[in-house]
């Protein structure tokens, strides 16, 4: 399924580390490894969900793809009509142009619109900055995107505080769409909203995606939301990807022990269902001092000796649906698979 799809983002060994400085001379004493050696491919037109608990680096990962955070290392290749270019090496002008390709919807719709400005101004500015000089043209574009999110054009004259949370988030989505992006990075777009409004916004986003053939990078911690939205899901733990799978495959047969624990935490609306919750012991280790070997080993119920020493690599577990996992439990199987593939390609 994934082979015939066009790749839009190709992330290779991306690292985003924040230095920790100490003393008057700002000596670097360590790093917060928010995103640590992440490799990933994003296909055109899909919704890629990114899940993980707070502080696992999923938001930072999204911001790094937008270059709102500077990458410490690695590459982020973006597909410019078939030609992949590394956005981490872009200069100012190239970056400015890239801003039109990828846009972002932020978590907090309450502070995402400038409270001093009318919606009209907030909507006009990006278009002016990106060189749409004709006012009538700008207004036509503004009305077009507002129509997509079902907001009346005469609401443009209002101030942000006159809108509800759901309306504001819809406005934010509309504003991001103004520059006709190809990719929308959604950083927990509904977690600040009421549950009833969440569904409304999510459905709207799905409709828009269908209409514009957008690619979504959907960052969230709400597993049911991610399941509803995503085609593929990436599970992150402490700045690393532990599992990548199709949405269905991930929920049907989670492989990584962390994913299993995560999924068992989804509440089921059925009183007869007494599914046992798998509660992880301990806290998430600090991203400054990560455990040796597999970052998850000190909380893993299946921890083996090798886990404490060697960091597992992300490898394909099921070639049929591209299910990938980074865990020593599957190392043998994966190795066999790789050997088979190598043999097949030789033959």
């Amino acid at each position: 399924m994934s082979e015939n799809k066009e790749i839009i983002f190709k992330v290779q060994n991306l690292r985003t580390w924040f230095p920790i400085t100490k003393g008057a001379f700002k000596k670097v004493v360590g790093h917060v490894k928010a995103v640590d050696d992440v490799s990933l491919e994003v296909y055109k037109g899909e919704t890629l969900g990114i899940v993980g608990e707070s502080g696992c680096g999923k938001s930072t990962f999204g911001k790094t793809l937008m270059m709102l955070e500077r990458a410490t290392g690695g590459q982020v290749l973006f597909n410019y009509d078939g030609e992949f270019r590394d956005i981490t090496k872009f200069n100012k002008d190239e970056m400015f142009d890239f801003r039109k390709k990828v846009q972002m919807v932020f978590q907090d719709p309450y502070s995402a619109l400038n409270p001093q400005k009318k919606i009209y101004t907030s909507f006009e500015e990006p278009l002016v900055v990106h060189g749409m000089k004709d006012q009538a043209q700008r207004e036509a574009r503004m009305q077009e995107v507002l129509k997509m999110v079902n907001i009346q054009p005469d609401y443009l004259m209002r101030y942000p505080h006159e809108f509800s949370g759901g309306q504001r988030q819809r406005l934010c989505i509309a504003r991001a769409l103004e520059v006709m992006p190809e990719v929308l990075i959604c950083d927990e777009p509904v977690s600040a909203l009421d549950v009833s409004i969440q569904a409304q916004v999510l459905n709207l986003m799905k409709d828009i995606q269908k209409e514009l053939n957008l690619t979504y990078l959907f960052i969230a911690h709400d597993l049911s939301v991610v399941q509803y939205m995503s085609d593929r899901i990436v599970v992150m733990y402490l700045g690393k990807i532990v599992e990548v799978a199709d949405s269905r495959a991930l929920y049907d047969e989670p492989l990584h022990p962390y994913t299993r624990a995560l999924l068992s935490a989804i509440p089921v609306p059925d009183i007869h269902n007494t599914k046992k919750r798998q509660v992880l012991e301990g806290e998430v280790p600090s991203p400054i001092h990560k455990p040796s070997g597999c970052a998850f080993h000190n909380r893993c119920p299946h921890c083996m000796e090798i886990c404490k020493q060697v960091d597992p690599t992300l490898a394909v577990q099921n070639p049929e649906n591209g299910h990938m996992v980074a865990c020593h439990l599957y190392a043998e199987q994966q190795k066999k698979l790789q050997e088979e593939q190598a043999a097949a390609s030789q033959a």
Binding site: M66, L68, M95, F96, R99, Q103, M104, F106, Q107, D108, S111, A112, L113, N114, P115, Q116, K117, K118, Y120, S122, E125, P126, V129, H130, Q135, A136, E139, A140, Q143, P153, D154, L156, M157, R158, C172, R175, V179
Partner: protein
């Protein structure tokens, strides 16, 4: 088609804005003290400017009527060398008010720009500007004035304005810097960055409007502060040259104990003018803060 529609949007836009304005004006009018302040400010300013335009005679000494008590011809009396005090208070008002307003506005502009830069860029830029502001804060204003007078060997209006602006921008700077520090973390700033807007655009067009209210309010109260500063410096003889009648310079005559004891009108009227104006500005500033504070709306 869309043009007619959008025109109507813009029209409605204007009416909404003006209704907000009306609401604010009504709110301001309900504050009696603030209205009183505004009325006093307007009356005094108009009177002073009118006096200057009409060219009342403030400078010709008249030896025959030195230290005359107030009467019909000289309603505020005359000073120690027989000049009409009413004319001098009017003229002095122009200078004092000008000094207050000019210095307050200019120091706010300087403070706001530096504060915006320090708060937005943070890191070493912030550290450097904050240190500079602390050096200025730690340096006594009086000494700076005396140094300037000594170096330039003359007391002029320009010197005074310069010293006031140089020593007066720090409060606005600190306020703006702190506001910027917290506001730059707001999501709308990130959104603007995500759209690739320039830093200057983000700083001055996005964040600054959100800091405008405290800047305006502190500017009004600074006007009062600078008028008092001018009066104090002129009183001790370090302010504007004697030939220029500012309120402080007129008060300067009251340094002698004899005048204080016997010619009350020489110091009461300019003193009253200063107190009344400063009080009025403070009332007005308070009222303005209540109206403009967005958090209360």
């Amino acid at each position: 088609m869309s043009e007619t529609k959008t025109l109507s949007i813009k029209e409605q836009n204007k009416s909404a804005a003006s209704s907000l304005m009306k609401k604010n004006i009504r709110k301001f009018l309900r504050n009696k003290l603030a209205v009183f302040g505004l009325v006093v400010i307007v009356i005094m300013t108009v009177a002073c400017v009118a006096g200057m335009i009409l060219g009342v005679d403030y400078s010709t000494p008249n030896p025959t009527i030195m230290r005359a008590a107030p009467d019909a011809a000289h309603i505020f009396g005359t000073d120690t060398i027989g000049r009409d005090l009413f004319a001098r208070v009017l003229y002095g008002g122009c200078y004092s008010i000008f000094i207050g307003v000019f210095c307050a506005v200019l120091s706010s502009v300087v403070g706001a720009i530096l504060g915006a830069i320090a708060g937005y860029f943070g890191r070493w830029v912030d550290a450097v500007i904050v240190r500079i502001s602390e050096i200025f804060l730690a340096f006594p204003q009086l000494v700076l004035v005396m140094m300037l007078v000594a170096i330039l060997n003359k007391r002029s209006m320009g010197n005074m304005l310069f010293v006031f602006v140089v020593t007066g921008w720090m409060t606005t700077f600190r306020m703006v810097r702190n506001e910027f520090m917290s506001l730059k973390g707001e999501t709308y700033v990130k959104v603007c960055e995500a759209f690739g807007m320039s830093r200057a655009n983000v700083m001055f067009k996005q964040i600054l409007p959100n800091v405008m209210t405290p800047i305006i309010v502190s500017t009004t109260t600074n006007v009062a502060y600078f008028i008092l500063q001018e009066a104090a410096l002129s009183f001790i003889g370090l302010g504007v040259a004697d030939s220029t009648p500012t309120w402080g310079n007129i008060l300067n005559a009251a340094k002698s104990i004899q005048v204080v004891q016997n010619q009350w009108w020489i110091w009461v009227f300019p003193g009253l003018a200063i107190s009344l104006f400063v009080l009025a500005i403070n009332f007005f500033g308070d009222g303005l803060r209540d109206v403009l504070d967005a958090k209360q709306q």
